[in-house]
Symmetry: C2
Subunit: 294 residues, 2 copies
């Protein structure tokens, strides 16, 4: 059986780069020229789309996937939401696997509405989901994965400093994130594809390599989306823990480090899109080296 | 000090009704006449707003607050989002306390964007928030509560059948929801208002009265938003556990039971708005009786 994660794995092999570029597009990441004439919501919408499309065109063939962080679009209400869908449409046209980082969660009936919104006909290849409501809040998303060949990444061990506050609490002698990992494996049990990974993945931060290693070791069919590389302190070396022995099983997100690379010393003088491409190429090398060194 | 929860409590006393009407507006709840000519997103947007405004006009003076379930609007992308904001504007004009049920959650920097979106100048009085990321994902929301006189309800013990799967796991001899309750109390510690309740509340389902009783007993400054009444199986009797000895400290949500009351046998023959009003009046009585009988 082929699932969406097989397509993602093919794309990763094609580009040789297990990186997902995060479009956490903030107005202050836009070059001066794009920021100059923002007069109201429609201008902001168009500027976000223009910036994102420039990034996408530059990253084509370099990264297999992009992840849109919904929060930065929801800030601009319906204009932002339209910018998000327009960005996704351009990404689909250009062959990227498209993830929406929405971290949605609710009781069953309402989760159905979210699943229809984000994994339906006009939806994304993958979205992120929060496990706190338990299975009946997850099932509608899993059902949509089956019906529409989509995938989800369920939060297991996040990358932020206080992630441990709940996620590392000890339950029956093991941290909560391991319990969540077991549930994620179970929830995706019927959706394991030809590469051995299911359409129900887990979010596992690059900032907690010990946790990533434990999760990787135990849950062999669960593909990992790995945030926290770069600005949050994760590196190729720490992210490497999320990969299996063959260097598969994970994709590492980098947002600011790619889309705002032109604002840093290292890529100074380059246009934002060229800098993004250079940063994505450098990250490909960093990850490849880290995986070799293990 | 006065916080948003004092305003909510005043409104509850004014109407004698600790009920929040949930605008989980689905197209199939709309009367035939409003559904007849839905040709694309703008028609849907206008129909949702027309229906909601009818409900709001009918509930004025009967319920103190309304809660908009974001999922049912996000289904219609930017059209739905605009319908949500337009509904909220009408609710504000008519003096309702306005909650947006968005269950947002993310790492700190991204939670800031969500807080700006939903608790900023054009935001809502309250939103719901998921605690899984821990404090740095909550802090931006709390900061917005302070800056803009807003409030949040953090998921503690939800109303859905599988809520117990994670929320009742035992941590240090106590269920996880009690640990989350303690965090919620701590997070709102500086925001306790003149009525003794803070702007950082908890979501506690009407379907689990035992859990509600334990949370109510221990966390005296935490105000509860109580979903699960009606369609999900909760009743006045089970919701009563969420209230303090004075009959304060909680507000009970009812969505379908109010906005789609006209579709049930009990309110048959009434228009949808009149039926909503009648159902809200009946719920007021049900809750008052349940609180008396304790």
């Amino acid at each position: 059986m082929r699932v969406i994660t097989d397509r993602l794995i093919d794309k990763i092999k094609e580009t040789g780069n297990p990186t997902v570029a995060g479009l956490d597009t903030r107005i202050d990441f836009l070059p001066e020229s794009m920021r100059a004439r923002l007069d109201g919501g429609e201008d902001i919408e168009n500027a976000l789309v223009e910036f994102n499309c420039g990034i996408l065109d530059a990253l084509k063939g370099i990264v297999p996937a992009i992840k849109i962080q919904s929060a930065y679009y929801e800030m601009y209400a319906h204009y932002g939401v339209r910018a998000m869908y327009r960005t996704a449409a351009h990404a689909v046209q250009n062959g990227f696997v498209v993830m929406a980082d929405v971290k949605r969660n609710d009781i069953g009936a309402t989760a159905e509405a979210y699943a229809a919104a984000y994994l339906g006909a006009n939806g994304y290849d993958y979205i992120t989901v929060n496990p706190y409501p338990g299975y009946d809040g997850i099932k509608p998303f899993v059902d949509s994965c089956v019906a529409n060949d989509r995938g989800i990444f369920v939060l297991a061990r996040m990358s932020n400093p206080s992630a441990a506050q709940l996620q590392n609490l000890i339950v029956d002698g093991e941290p909560l994130y391991m319990r969540v990992g077991a549930l994620i494996e179970e929830w995706g049990g019927a959706l394991v594809g030809e590469n051995g990974y299911s359409a129900v993945g887990a979010v596992v931060g690059a900032t907690s390599p010990e946790e990533a290693r434990k999760l990787r070791e135990r849950f062999k069919t669960v593909f990992f989306l790995v945030p926290g590389y770069g600005a949050q302190g994760g590196s190729g070396a720490t992210a490497a823990a999320a990969f299996d022995a063959n260097g598969n099983g994970a994709i590492v997100n980098n947002s600011r480090g790619i889309i705002a690379a032109y604002m840093t010393e290292k890529y100074k003088g380059m246009t934002y899109d060229k800098a993004a491409r250079a940063a994505a190429v450098d990250m490909r090398e960093d990850l490849a080296n880290a995986l070799k060194r293990r």
